[in-house]
C-alpha cells in the first residue's frame, strides 16, 4: 500500500508541475501581458516601461522558474489590479468558496444517494426512469441557466430567497443547489450501480435468508458497501465544484475565489489568474490522489494492478 501511495504521490506531483507550466504558458502566450496590463490608450513607451518594470522582457523559462520558486513558498506576487499580495486576496476569498463547495456537495449527496438507492431497489420502474431523467437534466443543463432559473423562481417570483450576495446562510442556498445539481448525476449513477451489484451478492442473500428486516439489510449491509466508491467520487466531484464556482460565484455575486478569478481575467490581473488556476488545480489533484488512495485501501485489487 505504501509503495502504491508513493507512486500516486509522485504522479500527482508531476501532474501539478505540468499544470503549473500549462497555466503559466497559457497566460503568457495568449496575449502580450504588458500591452494588456497597460490598458486602453497606452503609448508604446508606457508598454515598454511596464514590460521592463515587471521583468516581462526576460526569457519565458526564467520567468517561469522564478514564478514557480516563489509560488512554492506561497508567494504569488502582488495583484496588478488590487495592488495587494495575491496570497492575501486568495486567503480572504477562499472561505466563501470552501463553504459553497461543501454546501453544494452536501446537497448533491443528499439528493443523489437516496435517488440512487430508490432507483436500484426498483430497477426499470417509473421511479428509476425519473431518477435517470433528473440525472440527465442535471448533466445537460448549463449551470448558469439553472442558476438563473432558480433565481427567477425563488427570488423574483416567490420572494423566498435572496438573489445575490453572501451576507447570510440563506444567500448560499440557491448557489449551492445550482452548483450541487451538476454533481448529482455521477453520484446517483454510481450509487445505483453499486446498490444493484451489492443487492445481488451472496452475503445479502444470506442476510435475507437469516430473516433480517429489509431495512436492516438495505442500510446496514448493502448501502454501506455500495456507497464506499461514492466517497471517493465525491472527493473528485468537490474538485469539479470548486472549478464550477467561477460561474456560480459570478452569477450570484459571491465574493469567493471563482469571482476573484472572473475579476482577474477581466482586468488582465495575470498573477491572480495564475494563482487561482494553480490552487484550484492543486486542490483537484490532491482530492484525486486521496480518492485513489481510498479506493486502493477499500479494494486491494487496485493496488496490485
Amino acid at each position: 500500500m505504501l509503495q502504491y501511495a508513493l507512486k500516486r504521490a509522485v504522479l500527482a506531483l508531476l501532474v501539478a508541475l505540468t499544470v503549473s507550466l500549462i497555466c503559466f504558458l497559457l497566460v503568457n502566450l495568449s496575449t502580450d501581458v504588458a500591452t494588456a496590463m497597460a490598458g486602453e490608450g497606452a503609448t508604446a513607451e508606457t508598454i515598454d516601461a511596464i514590460r521592463h518594470q515587471y521583468g516581462l522582457d526576460r526569457p519565458l523559462a526564467v520567468q517561469y522558474f522564478e514564478w514557480l520558486g516563489h509560488a512554492a513558498r506561497g508567494d504569488f506576487g502582488d495583484s496588478l489590479y488590487f495592488h495587494t499580495p495575491v496570497a492575501a486576496l486568495v486567503a480572504e476569498r477562499m472561505p466563501t468558496t470552501m463553504v459553497l463547495g461543501a454546501a453544494a456537495l452536501g446537497f448533491a449527496l443528499l439528493l443523489s444517494i437516496p435517488l440512487g438507492v430508490i432507483a436500484a431497489l426498483k430497477p426499470n420502474s417509473w421511479i428509476d426512469r425519473l431518477a435517470l431523467t433528473i440525472a440527465v437534466v442535471g448533466q445537460a443543463m448549463p449551470t448558469f441557466w439553472f442558476a438563473l432559473l432558480l433565481m427567477y423562481l425563488f427570488g423574483v417570483t416567490l420572494h423566498l430567497l435572496p438573489i445575490s450576495g453572501g451576507d447570510t446562510w440563506q444567500h448560499f442556498i440557491l448557489p449551492s443547489v445550482a452548483l450541487g445539481y451538476y454533481a448529482t448525476p455521477a453520484i446517483m449513477r454510481l450509487t445505483r450501480s453499486g446498490m444493484l451489484e451489492v443487492l445481488e451478492s451472496d452475503y445479502i442473500r444470506t442476510a435475507r435468508a437469516k430473516g433480517l428486516r429489509n431495512t436492516s439489510v438495505l442500510f446496514k449491509h448493502a448501502l454501506r458497501n455500495a456507497v464506499a466508491p461514492v466517497v471517493a467520487l465525491a472527493a473528485v466531484q468537490l474538485g469539479f465544484l470548486l472549478g464550477g464556482s467561477v460561474v456560480i460565484e459570478t452569477v450570484f455575486a459571491l465574493n469567493g475565489l471563482g469571482y476573484l478569478a472572473w475579476e482577474a481575467i477581466g482586468h488582465n490581473d495575470f498573477p491572480v489568474v495564475q494563482a487561482v488556476v494553480l490552487l484550484i488545480s492543486l486542490v483537484y489533484i490532491v482530492l484525486t490522489l486521496l480518492a485513489d488512495l481510498a479506493n486502493a485501501w477499500l479494494d486491494p485489487r487496485i493496488r496490485i494492478a
Binding site: T31, D32, T35, A36, A38, G39, E40, G41, T43, A44, Y81, F82, H83, P142, F144, W145, L148, L149, M151, Y152, G155, V156, T157, H159, P162, I163, S164, G165, T250, V251, F252, A253, N255, Y259, W262, E263, G266, H267, N268
Partner: protein, 507 residues
C-alpha cells in the same frame, strides 16, 4: 453562448413579468440601492481607471470647477474664479467655508498637496493621462493657488472639472492612497460610511455640504452601491426590489424591462463613439485601402442610419467626423457627407479596379452585432470582410504592429469634453495613427496647444474636414447606454455617464 443567454433572458423576463411585485426598495427609507458590474481596485480616484470609480469620485469629492452637463459651461465649485495668467499658468481663487467630511477646512494647502502628489510620476497614479500635464501647484495665499502646466494645455479646465478631485491635504498626507481607498474623505455631497471592497459601498448624505455648490443639495439620504458582476442577476434584483437602479442594460433586455409596470427604462447617449479605421499609411497591411475610392466605397456601403435603429439603440446619433458632437472643437461643418449608397459604392470599387469586390480582414473587439451588421453591408457591395474578433489588447497590438489595417474601434475620450482627448489619439503620429497625414497632425497640434478658443476651433475644424475629405475613417455613431430603475425615482441621464443622484428624489 451569447444568443443562448439572450434567449434565456427574454424567456425568463417574459415568464417573470406576470409575477413580479413592485420594486422601489429604496423609497421606504429614502435610499437608492444601485449596482455596478466592475470592482474598482481602489476608491482613491487617482488609483483606479474604471467607470464606477469615476462615478464614485463625483459623489465623494469636489473639483475646482464644475462643468454643467446641460450647458457644458464651467461653473465655480471649490474655486470661485479663475484666469489664465499665461499659456502655461492657471490661477484660482478658492472658496471660503468649505469643510471636508472629517472636519478639515478647505484651503490652498489642500489643492497644492493633492495636485503636487498625484502629478508626480513616482507616486504612480493609475490615471496618469489626467494629471501628467501638471508641472506643479503653487500656493499664492490661503485662498489662491496657481497651477503651472508643463506646456500649453487648453483642455486643462476640462480635466479640472472632471477627474482631478481635490483631497484634504493633511488627511491624504497621513493615510496615503491606500488609506484614502479604505476610508475615503472628501468634500462632496456624499460621505462613505461603509466600504466592503469588492462587495459594497454605502454613502450617506453630507449634511454640511456647502450651499453654493453647483451640485444641488442631495435629497436622497443613503446610497448603497452593490457590486454584482452578472447583468442578469442585476436585472433579477431590480425586478425583485433588491435594487432601485441599474445601468448598461443590454438593448434587448431593456426592451423587455419596458413592459414591467414598476420600472422605467431610459436610454442615454454617451461620449463613446464608434468608427472604422482604414490604414492608408506607408506601412499598411492592406494596400487596397490606400486608394481613396475604396475608402469612400466602404463608407457609402454602410447604412449607419439603419444600424442606429436596429442594432445600436435609442439616443445614439450618427456622426460625420471623428469626434463626439458635444466636445469642444468638434464640428462637421464643411466636412463631406457620405450617404448610404450601395450603387455608388459598387461604382467606386469598379473605378478603382475591383468590380468583383475583394477580401479583407475586419478586426473588432466589442459590439459584435454591430460589426456583423457592417460585414453584411460590405458583402452586399462585394467586399468580403472576414471578422477577426479578439480582445482589445490583441487588436491594438495587431494595429500597432501593422498587421490589422481595417478595424472596428470605439473611443470614450475618458469623458473629457474636448476634441484633444479624441481625434489626436488617432491622427497625431502616435502608434495608433495608421494614416500619418502631416497636414492633419499639424492642424491638431495647433488646436491642442493654443489657449485661444477660436483658434482652436478653426484648427480642429480644418483637421476634421481633411480627415473626412480623405475618408481616412468611417465615422459611425455615438453609443447609447440603457438605464433601468424604479418608476418613482427621478433620474436624468447625461452623456458623461455619471448618474447624478444628488439631483434625484423619490416621487
Amino acid at each position: 453562448m451569447t444568443s443562448y443567454r439572450k434567449l434565456l433572458r427574454v424567456t425568463l423576463l417574459a415568464a417573470a413579468l406576470a409575477f413580479t411585485l413592485p420594486a422601489e426598495a429604496g423609497k421606504r427609507d429614502n435610499s437608492i440601492k444601485w449596482a455596478a458590474n466592475q470592482v474598482p481596485e481602489s476608491l482613491d480616484a487617482y488609483f483606479n481607471n474604471v467607470r464606477i470609480g469615476v462615478i464614485l469620485a463625483h459623489y465623494i469629492w469636489d473639483t475646482l470647477v464644475y462643468r454643467d452637463p446641460k450647458t457644458n459651461e464651467y461653473k465655480p465649485s471649490l474655486a470661485t474664479a479663475w484666469r489664465w495668467v499665461d499659456d502655461k499658468t492657471l490661477e484660482f481663487d478658492l472658496r471660503h467655508g468649505v469643510k471636508f467630511h472629517n472636519g478639515e477646512a478647505f484651503d490652498a494647502d489642500d489643492v497644492v498637496y493633492t495636485l503636487n502628489f498625484v502629478s508626480k510620476p513616482e507616486n504612480k497614479s493609475t490615471t496618469q493621462q489626467n494629471v501628467n500635464w501638471i508641472a506643479s501647484a503653487e500656493k499664492i495665499d490661503q485662498f489662491k493657488v496657481r497651477i503651472h502646466l508643463k506646456k500649453p494645455f487648453p483642455a486643462a479646465l476640462e480635466y479640472l472639472a472632471g477627474p482631478v478631485a481635490i483631497y484634504p491635504g493633511k488627511y491624504y498626507a497621513k493615510v496615503g492612497p491606500k488609506g484614502m481607498s479604505e476610508k475615503p474623505v472628501g468634500s462632496g455631497p456624499y460621505m462613505v460610511v461603509e466600504n466592503q471592497p469588492g462587495r459594497l459601498v454605502r454613502m450617506k448624505r453630507n449634511p454640511n455640504y456647502f450651499k453654493d455648490s453647483p451640485k444641488p443639495q442631495p435629497q436622497i439620504e443613503t446610497l448603497e452601491l452593490r457590486l454584482i458582476p452578472d447583468q442578469n442577476t442585476q436585472t433579477a434584483e431590480l425586478m425583485a426590489g433588491g435594487l432601485d437602479w441599474i445601468f448598461n442594460v443590454p438593448p434587448d433586455q431593456a426592451e423587455q424591462l419596458k413592459t414591467v409596470p414598476t420600472l422605467r427604462v431610459k436610454a442615454g447617449e454617451t461620449m463613446r463613439v464608434v468608427f472604422l479605421t482604414m490604414a492608408s499609411g506607408d506601412k499598411t497591411p492592406t494596400p487596397i485601402l490606400k486608394d481613396i475610392r475604396v475608402r469612400k466605397a466602404i463608407i457609402h456601403a454602410i447604412n449607419r442610419q439603419a444600424m442606429l435603429k436596429t442594432v445600436v439603440g435609442e439616443s445614439a446619433r450618427m456622426i460625420n467626423t471623428l469626434c463626439f458632437p458635444a466636445q469642444f472643437g468638434c464640428t462637421d461643418e464643411g466636412a463631406p457627407r457620405y450617404d448610404y449608397n450601395p450603387a455608388k459604392a459598387k461604382a467606386l470599387l469598379a473605378e478603382a479596379g475591383y468590380p468583383n469586390g475583394f477580401d479583407i480582414d475586419l478586426y473588432a473587439y466589442r459590439e459584435r452585432p454591430q460589426t456583423e451588421a457592417v460585414i453584411g453591408y460590405l458583402r452586399a457591395v462585394g467586399i468580403r470582410a472576414n471578422l477577426r474578433f479578439m480582445q482589445y489588447a490583441a487588436m491594438r497590438d495587431a494595429i500597432r504592429e501593422h498587421k490589422a489595417g481595417f478595424a472596428h474601434q470605439t473611443w470614450g475620450s475618458f469623458s473629457v469634453n474636448d476634441v484633444s482627448a479624441m481625434t489626436p489619439v488617432y491622427f497625431k503620429f502616435s502608434a495608433d495613427d495608421v494614416t500619418r497625414d502631416q497636414q492633419v497632425r499639424d492642424l491638431l497640434e495647433a488646436g491642442d496647444t493654443s489657449v485661444k478658443p477660436e483658434m482652436r476651433k478653426v484648427a480642429y475644424k480644418n483637421a476634421l474636414k481633411r480627415i473626412a475629405e480623405e475618408a481616412y475613417v468611417v465615422p459611425m455613431y455615438s453609443l447609447p447606454v440603457y438605464y433601468a430603475y424604479a418608476k418613482d425615482l427621478q433620474f436624468q441621464p447625461y452623456p458623461d455617464e455619471i448618474p447624478r443622484f444628488w439631483e434625484s428624489r423619490w416621487k
